[in-house]
Amino acid sequence: MIIPSIVVEEKAAEYTIEDVICPFCGCCCDDIIVSVKDGRIIDVRNACTLGASKFLHIDEGRLLKPKIGRFESAREASLSEAIETVVGLLKDSYYPLFYGWACTSCEAILLGLDLAEILGGAIDNTSIVCHGPTILAGQDLGLITATLGQVKNRADLIVFWGCNPLEAHPRHIARYSVSSKGRFISGRRDRKVVVVDVRRTNTARIADLFIEVKPGYDYEVLSALKMLVRDLDLEVDEVGGIPVSKLEELADMMVEARFGALFFGTGLTMSRGRDKNIEAAIELVRCLNFKTKFVLIPMRGHFNVTGANEAFTWRTGYPVSIDFSQGYPRYLPGETTAVDILRRGECDLFFVVASDPISHMPRRAVEHLSNIPVITLDPKLTPTVYLSDVAIPVAYTGIEVDGSVYRMDTVPLRMRKIVDPPPGILPDTEILRMILEKVRGCV
């Protein structure tokens, strides 16, 4: 190829790699410069503080050997013993639940789907507890979206609703939205920026208009905006703590924009109404498209949570929460969703890859894990690893192993290996393949 996929300038024991894709958030910034010396990352340029922190701390708090046993009774085990134990537990299981998949490659996710299908278990990815409602709403109405470059080149109005990119997606503003420069927009001064949130976030400070909505009233506000955009009259004076005159101002800004982009985050998906909030946002954007051009883009969290949805969908037809127990993919929110399976205590084994559900699911749901075996593949010593009956260390996707990932706007990217993993530590794809082979042998 004329353009090599990565430039490597070798200087003694040191090399610098350009255009590295950042394995932190859904922005997947692909302009990171990483310097390596003696096999360790010593410098990271262009990354935000979150991304840089991940690159620079991969060696800390790591799980270095497979372990068997919970908490303090854990003991080190060989990889083959750990895998034998895992396979033994899987074989005896009637309804295993496979969970995680947001911080690994699509290659690993597809192997996870293989495993769940063969064993007749359920498999879910972490998007169900962040942008699951976005997916649910998309299934009922359809998302009206665009890649981030459309925003960069064209958007003269940007609305952040229930999201705080300055803290969660720090480079979003410079690279993709507020101050990005493109063909038809030369930067911040060509754009208007609106922030809608329940608190004055850091992002609100850079906005032209900040609208503070009462917690849990987004649905009402979005509904009122839909009425205003459709030129229908409101009978009330204020909605969700916002005077109607202010909403009229926002509605006019939206209609007058040539290309508007509504970015939304967990402020909409997790609050009162959940998927219905997103439906209301989609309906608003639909109405806006009769008058101008408007798109809506979810601010996805982990670097490959979007990829998990994509891979789940192409293989099974459904983006999250698949149940293979009857030999084919089935899906129904509230039934096959991970939190609900755990809450009802229905799975008899919990298999976690690249996630920390103990930290990120309600305690009342994960308490079921005291009754069933827990298996985890993770590079780090997390609370979930600590609780696991078997944990196997794996390499960091995007740093120690290459793999395919999807940015928040579904643009696919190919991550590259930068350094070797610590000795004896394999990529999760390798571990999953070993388990799969042994499971195939006995099912």
Binding site: I2, S5, N153, K293, W314, Y318, Y328
Partner: protein
């Protein structure tokens, strides 16, 4: 002898080699068709009384990539009514109109299809397309690369830098592992970036100082400069609008005016959707006769049908404004997904109803095109899967082509008023088995320039479909149901010399090959151009130039075709 196979006594239809229903043996070794093999050491399939044809080739089908996946995501209700449990040999899957990856491969193989072209892939999302294609088993796959709204191509053409445009296009094909140049609503999808569209060949694309006519002519020129195996593959402007058959004809004719006749220059895809006369939806008429008359009088154009079948399906296209219009009239689900610098996409579920006036016209237009175009080598059977209906409907479409009785049966139950405005009731042409072998295999392979596909001559890939149907005994005109049934489930499908389907069931789950063109442009020319392009590229795109190409190691079973351009 490894992988030796002998198909004995089949009734063979191989139009490319002039074989029309002869009883003969076919010998296979190492995945290709050979003159003869040692029968004692070969596995033998007794195909006596069976129809033997080359494996089917689908020239235009939306099976993988961003759009297809949005379609899947959008339609859980489509999956619930059509699912396939895992078996000891195969994987599970779901989907009536937008099947999941594994199921897509199995269903094509069960019908005896062995090569499928994904019809439209935006370069920026091409890695996604290949990841899905990797996951589709059995069939060989390739993709057509969307270029008709690409900013760099449009800029180069409007600046008169046609050679640079050609080099850029060649680089795009190489970088994305694409097979050919796809044009979707030239200029119109760029205008959709502002919520607009273009409605005429000579309308200026906003901000680009270029017209659809110039885009089509430019890419047609580029196509021939690069010596690509397939012509430009065009989804015309005004697709899916009343009275658009004239736009179709003018698009076809503009390349003839520019480059003359004598060879194929343009493929008008899913022509049914751009074959309407009548100025409004209520006065919609079939425009198939006008198009067929033109096609019959020239030699530079080929078509595929884009046949509509009466079912619940999912429309998906790069033509964003078209899907928005569809949403306006159907008011159900609508997904949109613009792709920066390149194209857009829209997805809307639809139900084609027999009773509806428009649905009936659409159904008739596709069949009229196939029946009125005289030369079967220039019309290919498609449903523009899943736009006109899922590909699993091909046997139904074949039965309509082969039997006027089958068509009459349907016509008894469609919208009567609509039928008056189509020529279909008066057409009595019926396709022969040779015609079918042409429009489903030989013609698409030939139009795509696939030298080893679509025929059973020595050296061809051993992709073969065997159907439990004796063409000497069955009259398809009368016994069309039998034909339809046999074609739904191949008695045997052989892919690359391996038996993958027996009696309509998949017996071996093998990966297919990935085909693309490797256009051999001098490296220094490409490098020079990219040096110039890079700053603008990184200003317009949100990815770095280096992260844009599809790395070759992402692709399963790569099978590139070397092309020597005339640059």
């Amino acid at each position: 002898m490894k992988d030796a196979l002998l198909i004995r006594n089949g009734v063979v239809y191989d139009p490319m080699n002039g074989v029309e229903g002869e009883v003969m043996d076919i010998a296979i070794k190492d995945g290709v068709i050979v003159e003869a093999i040692d029968e004692r050491k070969a596995k033998v399939i007794d195909a006596s009384g069976m129809l033997v044809m080359p494996g089917g080739v689908d020239i235009h089908s939306h099976i993988a990539g961003s759009k297809s996946n949005i379609g899947r995501l959008l339609r859980p209700e489509d999956h619930r009514r059509s699912y396939e449990p895992k078996t000891a040999l195969t994987r599970s899957g779901v989907g009536h109109s937008v099947p999941s990856t594994k199921t897509t491969g199995y269903r094509y193989a069960r019908m005896g299809y062995t090569t499928v072209f994904e019809a439209a892939s935006p370069p920026l999302k091409q890695k996604h397309t290949w990841e899905e294609l990797n996951d589709i088993p059995i069939i060989d796959k390739a993709t057509l690369t969307v270029m008709g709204n690409n900013w760099f191509i449009m800029d180069f053409i409007s600046q008169g830098r046609i050679e640079d445009a050609a080099i850029y296009a060649a680089w795009l094909l190489k970088a994305t592992k694409g097979y050919g140049i796809k044009i979707v609503n030239p200029g119109g999808v760029e205008a959709w970036g502002w919520g607009g569209n273009v409605y005429d060949l000579d309308e200026l694309v906003p901000y680009f100082g270029i017209t659809p006519r110039e885009i089509v002519e430019g890419l047609c020129k580029i196509n021939s400069m690069l010596n690509l195996p397939h012509t430009i593959h065009v989804h015309v402007n005004r697709l899916g609008m009343p009275n658009n058959c004239w736009t179709t004809l003018r698009t076809a004719h503009t390349v003839r005016k520019a480059f003359g006749g004598g060879k194929l220059l343009i493929h008008i895809t899913h022509c049914q959707f751009s074959g309407y006369a009548g100025s409004t939806w209520t006065t919609l008429r079939s425009g198939a006769e006008y198009i067929a008359k033109y096609v019959n009088s020239v030699d530079h154009i080929s078509l595929d049908m884009g046949q509509v079948v009466f079912t619940d399906t999912t429309t998906m296209t790069g033509d964003g404004p078209l899907e928005f219009r569809l949403f306006q009239s159907l008011a159900g689900k609508w997904a949109n997904a613009d792709v920066e610098v390149e194209t857009g996409a829209g997805i809307v579920p639809i139900r084609y109803s027999r009773r509806s006036y428009v649905g009936t016209i659409q159904w008739a237009v596709g069949l009229e095109l196939a029946l009125l175009v005289n030369d079967p080598w220039r019309i290919v059977l498609t449903t523009d899967h899943p736009n006109g209906g899922p590909f699993t409907a091909y046997p139904r479409v074949i039965s309509w082509l082969m039997s006027s009785k089958a068509r009459s049966k349907v016509m008894e139950r469609v919208n009567r008023r609509a039928l008056k405005y189509t020529a279909l009731p008066s057409i009595d042409r019926e396709y022969t088995f040779t015609d079918i072998a042409i429009v489903t295999r030989a013609a698409p392979a030939k139009l795509l320039g696939l030298k080893r596909k679509g025929h059973l001559g020595v050296g061809a890939d051993a992709d073969i479909a065997i159907y439990d149907l004796d063409p000497r005994k069955v009259d398809p005109s009368v016994d069309y149901r039998r034909v339809r049934r046999a074609l739904r489930r191949a008695a045997y499908t052989i892919k690359g010399g391996r038996i993958v389907v027996v009696k309509g069931e998949v017996v071996e789950d093998i990966p297919g090959r990935s085909i693309w063109v490797d256009v051999d442009i001098p490296e220094d020319k490409v490098e020079e151009l990219l040096r110039e392009v890079k700053p603008r590229f990184e200003e317009f795109y949100t990815v770095k130039l280096r992260n844009y190409p599809v790395p070759e190691d992402m692709i399963l079973n790569p099978s590139p075709i070397k092309i020597n351009p005339s640059i």
